[in-house]
């Protein structure tokens, strides 16, 4: 069991302002589109307008004659550039159907947006014009976009080389006999949920700049990416390049949310074109292009069941999922549902557990990690079914949760799904949230409104979530068939001048690592916060790293940094003892200073020792000059942040409009390095979770063409649609790492959809509505109300492609009345 480190905390836990901000508020930060290289040419991608079509021919001759056009190539022209297809690093089962994913399609386009040709021109506008002049002869084919239809025998096939559209089925069964538990249980509740397909919408679109050195075979790739390190390894394989000759740099990156956690066709295409043409190249994604070509998230059907006693004590859970992979398997696409696979009992104690997920190919944009990645889905199913169970057994939602919570624990404890949770105190967070929201008062008001038949009904929704982050113990990743490791690295370099440079393997894009990492190092080495410089996102400067995603950075990369600081302190102690002519045992260390016990005036600081180590004039025998240490941390376990969110909604039953009156979030992410940054992560996460619950959905037409094709009709909420959030926390230190930290990047997005939807359903219960799928738009709510009142709603509403996506449905699942 790791001990929580003792240190003098001048900065950690305090409200330190971000050192990233000055360049960002003044317009001096350099994002990808701010980069221009001498002689640089622009790349444009020709994309299939059809979701499924045979490519009979590609004629680039007209494009090549356009002003400024340097080159134009079809998929066949570029075929020799690829040593392999784009990578899928998470083939989750041995028998997974894993199609080749060429950066440019050669024979068939499999989703609207699939690249079919490229153009290179002198200017952005000339490239855009040249795209229009590439003549592609398409033969449209039958499309499939609905997962359940895709699994039918006579469905069109997305990939001809396979005999069906199911990519894989991954199962997990643990504990007591699940079928027996369900057949014997006094109460069984079953519901079906659909998670809408979401478009990540980092405000900065993607982009790529490549600087070639053709003579040496060396290439520098700048990309708006979350994963420069993973990109370097995988692109070297796709392009058949010496990895040592590829340098990847993530400049300032304008948000990711998982959408920049991928290896994209455009990255491979631009390096390949730079290699072929010897020219510096740039490609910048337009927003409408991003909607087609950047991964989407969610699009998951869940059949969720819980078995319980008559009192509502949960005995077992059974979850069966269908996850829409889209047309290809992206970097970690198949593994996204698996990130939630161990969490379908939430923070509740059950005896039997069963999970199954089938990944399905369709002619839609590929899906992959979107903030929360598998865990919002799990939390949603668990928290929705928990409320349904509460209704069934006649208990209050708070009561059913207290009845089933795993009791408080402060050391790693095995749970039903087979993992060990690191630490937890779930009831404490719920208690705090209940106090903050004034639960009793709200229930009373709700009853009054119900009694009076108020057209505005009040709903109170709980989400007592648990998540799994700190990706990841490398051996566990191996068992899950993930190709890479889960470690991360940090280097601390103490300069002769007393300043400190930190090199981190994490790759922040808004999370404030430069600030938090400076806090950790300043406290541990007793230097000023402003004297710490944090370098990241360049594989030549930070060669070791696994990048930023899955709320892993502080618990893995931050811990590596802490361990590197311990190495610095250990070496500095040897030098200090030598210089002070005492034994190391005679020294005490506090806040950067070694003092001789009993003679505190005899002391050396870390900066003083850094100077000695640099001059190397008087080092102890066997001690190398310099004061620089690297540590690589492979976590022994995941971390399991948890919390209680309560959403209070008012629904106008005449218009279907949902108004969030109050939102309380009590989160427990273990020890907190920077509370301001943690609160900011929660705010943004909740906003995205509310967006999923109430606003956002990627809608396709019957040809599998995206109808919500721009920010003008895909509803990313503005400030006007969102409330202020009340945030608070409990602190249950993690036992997975010596910092006691768990991670907070995704918590809000994981918790919020369930809290909001439980509130919406709670408000509509008096009308007999006990089920609705996301998003609960005014239209969907109004239709459900009309339907519940026995009024026809035909002729209204937008058809969505998701079967059973809940339009107007007022189901009474699980035998509820």
């Amino acid at each position: 069991m790791a001990q929580v480190a003792e240190r003098a905390e001048r900065y950690m836990g305090g409200g330190v302002l971000r050192k990233e901000d000055p360049e960002l508020v003044s317009g001096q930060a350099r994002f990808i589109d701010d980069m221009t290289l001498p002689g640089m040419q622009w790349v444009g991608i020709v994309r299939s307008p059809f979701a499924h079509a045979r490519i009979n021919s590609v004629d680039t001759s007209r494009a090549k004659e356009m002003p400024g056009v340097v080159a134009a190539f079809s998929g066949a022209d570029m075929a020799d550039e690829w040593a392999d297809g784009l990578p899928c690093a998470w083939p989750v089962t041995e028998d997974i159907k894993l199609p080749k994913h060429w950066p440019i399609a050669k024979d068939k386009a499999r989703f609207a947006g699939d690249p079919v040709a490229v153009v290179v021109a002198e200017t952005r506008a000339q490239a855009a014009d040249a795209i229009e002049a590439v003549d592609v002869d398409y033969e449209p084919l039958d499309v499939v976009f609905d997962m359940e239809k895709a699994l039918e025998k006579d469905s069109p096939l997305v990939h001809d080389e396979f005999d069906s559209n199911d990519s894989y089925t991954w199962t997990l069964t643990t504990g007591e006999d699940i079928d027996q538990i369900f057949s014997d249980a006094a109460v069984v509740v079953s519901e079906r949920y659909y998670h809408p397909r979401l478009i990540p919408n980092a405000i900065e679109p993607r982009g790529v700049v490549v600087q070639p050195n053709q003579a040496q075979g060396e290439y520098t790739l700048y990309s708006a990416t979350q994963i420069p390190h993973i990109l370097k390894v995988t692109l070297a394989l796709t392009l058949g390049m010496n990895e040592g000759k590829l340098r990847v740099i993530a400049p300032a990156v304008g948000g990711g949310f998982g959408s920049k956690l991928n290896v994209y066709a455009e990255e491979a295409i631009c390096v390949a074109l730079a290699r072929r043409l010897g020219l510096p190249l740039k490609w910048i994604e337009e927003r409408s292009e991003a909607y087609l070509a950047t991964i989407h998230g969610r699009d998951v059907i869940q059949h969720m069941e819980v078995a319980a006693t008559e009192e509502g004590r949960m005995l077992g859970v059974r979850a069966k999922l269908f996850a829409n992979m889209g047309a290809y398997l992206q970097l970690v696409g198949p593994g996204i549902p698996i990130l939630g696979a161990f969490l379908y009992h939430g923070p509740y104690d059950v005896k039997a557990y069963s999970f199954e997920c089938t990944g399905v190919f369709t002619n839609k944009t590929p899906t992959d990690a979107y903030r929360g990645a598998g865990r919002p889905e799990a939390t949603y199913a668990v928290e929705r079914i928990t409320d349904a169970l509460a209704r069934k057994v006649g208990k209050d939602p708070t009561e059913i949760r207290r009845l089933n919570f795993i009791p408080p624990f402060n050391e790693a404890t095995p749970v039903a799904s087979g993992l060990s949770f690191d630490s937890g105190n779930y009831e404490a967070t719920l208690d705090k949230a209940i106090d903050l929201v004034d639960y009793e008062g709200l229930r009373k008001e709700q009853q009054d409104r119900r009694n009076s038949g108020d057209p505005t009904q009040l709903g109170i929704g709980l989400s007592t979530y648990i998540e799994m982050c700190g990706l990841a113990p490398s051996q566990v990743l191996s068992a899950l068939r993930y190709v890479a490791g889960g470690w991360d690295a940090a280097t601390i370099r103490c300069h002769a001048t007393g300043k400190v440079t930190v090199v981190t393997g994490t790759s922040p894009h808004g999370q404030g690592h430069a600030t938090s990492w400076s806090q950790i190092v300043a406290d541990e080495l007793g230097v000023d916060f402003d004297d710490v410089e944090v370098l990241h996102g360049d594989t030549a400067i930070a060669p070791l790293g696994m990048d930023t995603y899955g709320s892993r950075s502080v618990s893995v990369g931050g811990t590596a940094l802490h361990l590197a600081a311990q190495k610095i302190i250990a070496k500095a102690k040897t030098i200090a003892a030598h210089e002070l002519e005492v034994s190391e045992d005679d020294l005490t260390y506090e806040a950067g200073t070694f003092s001789v016990k009993g003679a505190p005036d005899k002391a050396k600081t870390i900066p003083e020792i850094a100077f000695s180590a640099w001059t190397a004039h008087n080092l102890p025998a066997g001690t190398e000059p310099g004061l620089e240490e690297t540590s690589v941390f492979d976590p022994p376990n995941f971390t399991f942040p948890a919390g209680a969110h309560i959403c209070v909604v008012e629904i106008d039953t005449e218009t279907g409009m949902t108004h969030i009156r109050k939102y309380v979030a009590v989160d427990d992410c273990g020890n907190v390095i920077n509370p301001m940054i943690v609160d900011g992560q929660i705010h943004g996460g909740i906003a995205q979770g509310i967006a999923e619950a109430l606003y956002e959905e990627a809608v396709y037409d019957e040809n599998a063409v995206l109808m919500t094709s721009s920010m003008a009709n895909y509803r990313v909420p503005s400030a006007a649609e969102l409330p202020s959030f009340v945030t608070d926390r409990t602190v249950t230190p993690s036992t997975t790492n010596p910092l006691g930290v768990k991670g907070i990047g995704e918590a809000g997005t994981i918790a919020a959809p369930a809290a909001v939807m439980n509130a919406v359903i709670d408000a509509l219960l008096p009308l007999g509505i006990s089920h609705m799928d996301m998003p609960a738009t005014p239209e969907h709510v109004w239709e459900a109300v009309q339907s519940a009142r026995g009024r026809s709603v035909s002729g209204t509403g937008t058809e969505t492609t998701a079967a059973g996506s809940g339009l107007g449905s007022a189901e009474t699942p699980g035998g509820e009345a």
């Binding site: 302002l17 971000r18 990233e20 901000d21 000055p22 360049e23 960002l24 508020v25 003044s26 317009g27 001096q28 930060a29 350099r30 994002f31 589109d33 701010d34 221009t36 952005r124 506008a125 919408n201 980092a202 405000i203 900065e204 679109p205 300032a252 990156v253 304008g254 948000g255 949310f257 337009e286 927003r287 409408s288 894009h509 808004g510 999370q511 404030g512 301001m676 940054i677 609160d679 900011g680 705010h683 943004g684 996460g685 909740i686 906003a687 995205q688 721009s710 920010m711 003008a712 990313v716 503005s718 400030a719 006007a720 969102l722 202020s724 959030f725 809000g748």
Partner: protein, 159 residues
């Protein structure tokens, strides 16, 4: 090509532009001021917001030729003598930015909101910012930043 003459951050510029050139690309690629960002094709996100003759405009919806004779202020022109503008300070102090991509546009839209002298209740600020999207912050600290900056910029108005 069309000849235009305009002032950007108190500097006079004369340039030949293509009639289809958008103001945002003129500022970014011809004047070299890359602080103003582009986030969408539909004038929805507001990342490209600049001040044109004292009013906030989305510079992806304005042609460069339309800005002939205008005075433009971009994010690079807000600080004076190296001292951050109260809005820049307030965004920093209240953690009103994370990735920072929407921030230049958000700050320029906020400047218009404060200078237009309307009331600055939370509701008014939220509705005043509906043309600018942020995916990171959930807007809560942006509202705080505007209130903090307004109390410095127009101390007589209580936020």
């Amino acid at each position: 090509m069309t000849r235009i003459s305009l002032t950007v951050n108190n500097m006079k510029h004369e340039a030949e532009v293509e009639p289809r050139q958008l103001l945002v690309y003129f500022l970014r690629e011809q004047v070299g001021l890359t602080g103003t960002n582009v986030g969408c094709d539909t004038s929805t996100c507001g990342s490209c917001t600049v001040m044109l003759d004292g009013k906030a405009v989305k510079s992806c919806t304005v042609l460069a030729v339309q800005a002939d004779g205008a005075e433009i202020t971009t994010i690079e022109g807000l600080a004076t003598d190296g001292e951050m503008h109260p809005l820049q300070k307030a965004f920093h102090n209240t953690h009103a930015l994370q990735c920072g991509y929407c921030t230049p546009g958000m700050i320029m839209a906020s400047l218009d909101l404060i200078q237009s002298n309307g009331e600055l209740t939370e509701e008014a600020i939220r509705s005043g910012l509906e043309g600018n999207l942020c995916r990171c912050t959930g807007y809560q600290n942006i509202v705080k930043a505007i209130q903090e900056a307004a109390s410095e910029m127009r101390p007589t108005v209580s936020a």
